[in-house]
């Protein structure tokens, strides 16, 4: 493997790992804030217990999310110094804003929220969890703005003497259509992820008949959030697809393994074979017009095939192969879409059960709801693979190739060592995190404050 491949593997590993924790953090911060708000308004002890219960799950996840985020930031300089040197002028600005405007907020007020239960007035304490949620969502905004610039560079001009892109319009960067749709998509996916986690944990307790009256409330809240969120996420995702098809035609053509230009274009449910050396895979269950609809928002829209875009790019950027890995692209599209559809169906079933007053007793639904917790993680990971793999071979679309972005001064041994070290570290942390999440998710609810309690004087803080 070349240095470029190794650096890519390392970046993919870090990003995928980081993004297992990020959506849970963003979504759970928001849901915890909602729970605490309901408690603040209604004063019912059940909501306070739920706030603390899900707040603990939030805290366990934030720890790993934060430290892996640090790795992300350092990796740009460590593995991709040529890239950082070329585009730091544009790409660095949103990263720095993220730290100043969002990450400080999230990290500082999370500490205040955890430790401030008995130190702050109730209303102020409630404000701190909302600031945590705001900080988490804000972080994602700046990171997505930076990432979207790599997908569709805007708001810059190339310095004639240095050849480097220089920022000249931050407004263009922050209104980049890829960013606006992409950010909305990520936020909705994060909310849906946390809602499924909350639903799964609640369902587990409902199955065990533990605190049924309390966990029924969190199950209903999670379903009330999940269904509209998933509908919106799918709508926004399809709009994002149209935007991407316009600026990154390779990305969408590869997602259907569409080698020849078509009009109208159908979407296949499955294919056998496929990949960059197999231009004639056997497509199964072709749904007419669907690809046209997804890529162009029109019934008979044209999708330019991979071969034609490749020929176009060769004329524009010089000789080379500009087709991304089609196999990864095709299947990450489907894993994302199918996992999302299953999540939506589960949510609709749950709503119907609420309507029939059977949510707490439907064993089949509760069992499926517990296991469905895996779906949003598959959906999120596949979504990022779709976005990032579809950008290849560009690190910044049309400006710099990935192979040119790697650090020239870093040796293969260094990359291999750090790759192995991080892999092992992530593995251990994932296991510990999973064990702790499962343990805390299955834990008995802490007693309600109104009930007689035999609590230690310090119920919060590091214990």
């Amino acid at each position: 493997m070349s240095n470029v491949d190794l650096a890519r593997v390392q970046f993919a590993m870090t990003s995928i790992y980081h993004f297992l924790f990020v959506p849970v953090t963003i979504g759970l911060a928001f849901l915890t804030a909602v729970l605490q708000t309901v408690w603040h308004r209604k004063g019912e002890a059940a909501y306070l217990r739920l706030t603390k219960f899900f707040g603990t799950l939030l805290i366990i996840n934030v720890a790993v999310g934060v430290v892996t985020g640090l790795v992300q930031e350092f990796q740009f300089g460590m593995n991709w110094s040529a890239y950082s040197r070329l585009v730091g002028d544009v790409f660095g600005a949103p990263l720095a804003m993220e730290g100043l405007a969002a990450f400080f907020l999230e990290a500082t007020f999370l500490g205040v929220w955890i430790f401030g239960w008995d130190k702050l007035p109730r209303r102020l304490h409630l404000a701190t969890i909302w600031l945590v949620a705001l900080g988490a969502a804000g972080s994602a905004a700046f990171i997505m703005a930076a990432n979207s610039w790599m997908q569709h560079p805007v708001g810059y001009q190339t310095n004639p003497t240095t050849g480097r892109p220089q920022l000249n319009d931050i407004w263009a960067v922050m209104t980049n259509p890829v960013f606006l749709w992409g950010y909305a998509h990520v936020l909705l996916a994060a909310l849906a992820t946390a809602a499924v986690v909350m639903l799964a944990v609640s369902a587990w307790h409902l199955r065990k008949k533990s605190h049924v009256e309390v966990f029924a409330r969190s199950a209903k809240l999670s379903l009330a959030v999940l269904v509209p969120t998933m509908f919106l996420a799918m709508f926004v995702g399809s709009e994002l697809g149209v935007v991407e098809a316009k600026y990154q035609p390779m990305k969408i053509a590869a997602a259907e393994a569409q080698w020849e230009t078509c009009q109208p274009c159908s979407f296949s449910a499955f294919q056998i074979g496929g990949g960059n050396n197999d231009q004639n895979p056997t497509k199964i269950i072709a749904i007419p017009h669907l690809l046209s609809l997804l890529a162009t928002n029109t019934w008979n829209g044209q999708v330019i095939g991979l071969n034609e875009v490749n020929a176009q790019y060769q004329q524009q950027y010089g000789p080379g192969n500009y087709v991304p890995n089609v196999f990864i692209q095709y299947w990450s599209m489907r894993v994302m879409a199918y996992a999302a559809s299953l999540v939506l169906l589960l949510g609709l079933w749950g709503l119907w059960l609420i309507h029939r007053n059977k949510l707490e007793t439907s064993r089949r639904f509760l069992w499926l709801a517990v296991w469905s917790v895996l779906l949003p993680f598959a959906m999120n990971t596949a979504g990022w693979l779709l976005t990032e793999n579809g950008r290849q071979p560009w690190i910044v679309q049309g400006i710099m190739r990935t192979s040119d972005g790697v650090s020239p001064s870093v040796g293969t041994t260094s990359i291999v060592i750090s790759l192995i070290v991080f892999f092992l570290l992530y593995l251990v942390l994932a296991i510990v995190d999973l064990v702790l999440m499962l343990r805390y998710a299955r834990r008995e609810l802490p007693p309600a404050p109104a009930e007689p309690v035999d609590e230690p004087p310090v119920p919060v803080g590091i214990q």
């Binding site: 740009f76 730091g88 002028d89 660095g92 804003m97 100043l100 990290a107 310095n159 920022l167």
Partner: protein, 336 residues
């Protein structure tokens, strides 16, 4: 003053803020076992930074991102040159960060000891290597005309950078001890005070040597740098106050010493950002690594708007959690 200069100063401020704040965090991590007799003691010590450490660590994130935005050339060369050192720093920070969270999630003493050891190890390795990295900027690294690092791992481990690492580590220990003395009561506080009294003279000597050596390495003439003089005077005063058991003053002074030590590196660097051992022509400077003027202007506006707010709410956090902790609060939290 040009914006390029402003951003050099702001990056120095961010690194200084990081070491001042996370410095006592590191110290607490290093000392939490050493200064405790049992689990409630350890919980008392760890909880002194419980609500604070996460916000403190963001200073490092912002310092790194600010270098990326304002001086991409500096960020790229430094981060790729220090590749393995940074990987190790990241491992240390990751283990330290999750230790706070994971340590208390199980009652078993073995579990707690294991995370405690990782907390201590991470708290030692991170400031030591970050110090080596800062020292290396001034000492010089082999850098070619294309601004790329041309050395290998061993080129990073020269005596002066290593000594800067040791200095910062020693300061973290003293800074942590004065912080624990300030934030606790009873036996923990007594032991922290005693430790501060014992180590302060040695730290004073280490800082004095650091100041002289830094001045020689910087090679900026015989005229002493006032910040280095201030660091020496302050560390002597810190040693004296620690000896007297005056918690507040001792902590104030260790804060000042930490700031002075970090700032002195940056003042000696200016206007360079990374010294090249291949000759002054290949030095990285603020002008040959900076972003364009639009980015710098934008970042300056954002900084002026947001940074005072951040400083205010972080200060408020310290105010909210200002009272001393006593071990009685934690005696019921565990069964040992």
């Amino acid at each position: 003053m040009t914006l390029v200069n402003v951003w050099f100063i702001l990056i120095a401020v961010l690194w200084t803020g990081f070491f001042v704040l996370e410095g006592f965090d590191f110290g607490v991590g290093i000392l939490h076992r050493y200064l405790s007799r049992d689990e409630p003691d350890r919980l008392t010590i760890i909880n002194t930074i419980g609500p604070l450490w996460d916000g403190n660590e963001v200073w490092l994130v912002v310092a790194g991102a600010a270098m990326f935005a304002a001086f991409p050339g500096w960020y790229s060369t430094m981060f790729s040159a220090y590749y393995l050192a940074l990987a190790l720093i990241l491992v240390a920070l990751i283990l330290r960060g999750v230790s706070f969270e994971f340590r208390g999630r199980d009652q078993s003493p073995r579990w707690r000891t294991r995370w405690s050891i990782l907390l201590t190890a991470g708290s030692i390795v991170a400031p030591l290597l970050l110090g080596v990295a800062l020292g290396g900027l001034l000492h010089g690294l082999p850098i070619g005309a294309d601004q790329e690092y041309t050395g290998d791992f061993l080129d990073l481990l020269k005596p002066y950078p290593l000594y800067v690492g040791v200095t910062l580590l020693a300061l973290c220990v003293l800074h942590g001890a004065t912080f624990i003395a300030l934030k606790t009561t009873g036996g923990v506080r007594d032991r922290a005070k005693r430790l501060a009294r014992q180590v302060a003279p040695f730290v004073a000597a280490i800082v004095a040597v650091y100041a002289i050596w830094t001045h020689i390495v910087a090679d900026k003439g015989v005229l002493p740098n006032p910040i280095e003089i201030a660091a020496i005077l302050a560390v002597i005063a810190a040693a004296w106050f620690a000896g007297q058991g005056r918690d507040g003053w001792a902590f104030t002074l260790t804060t000042f010493v930490m700031a002075a030590v970090v700032v002195s590196i940056f003042t000696e660097l200016f206007p360079r950002v990374m010294v090249s051992t291949e000759g002054a022509a290949t030095d990285l400077t603020i002008s040959n690594t900076a972003s364009g003027s639009y980015t710098l202007k934008l970042m300056t506006v954002i900084f002026i708007l947001i940074f005072p707010v951040v400083a205010a709410y972080q200060a408020w956090t310290y105010h909210t959690f200002r009272q001393r902790l006593s071990r009685t609060e934690f005696e019921n939290a565990t069964e040992e």
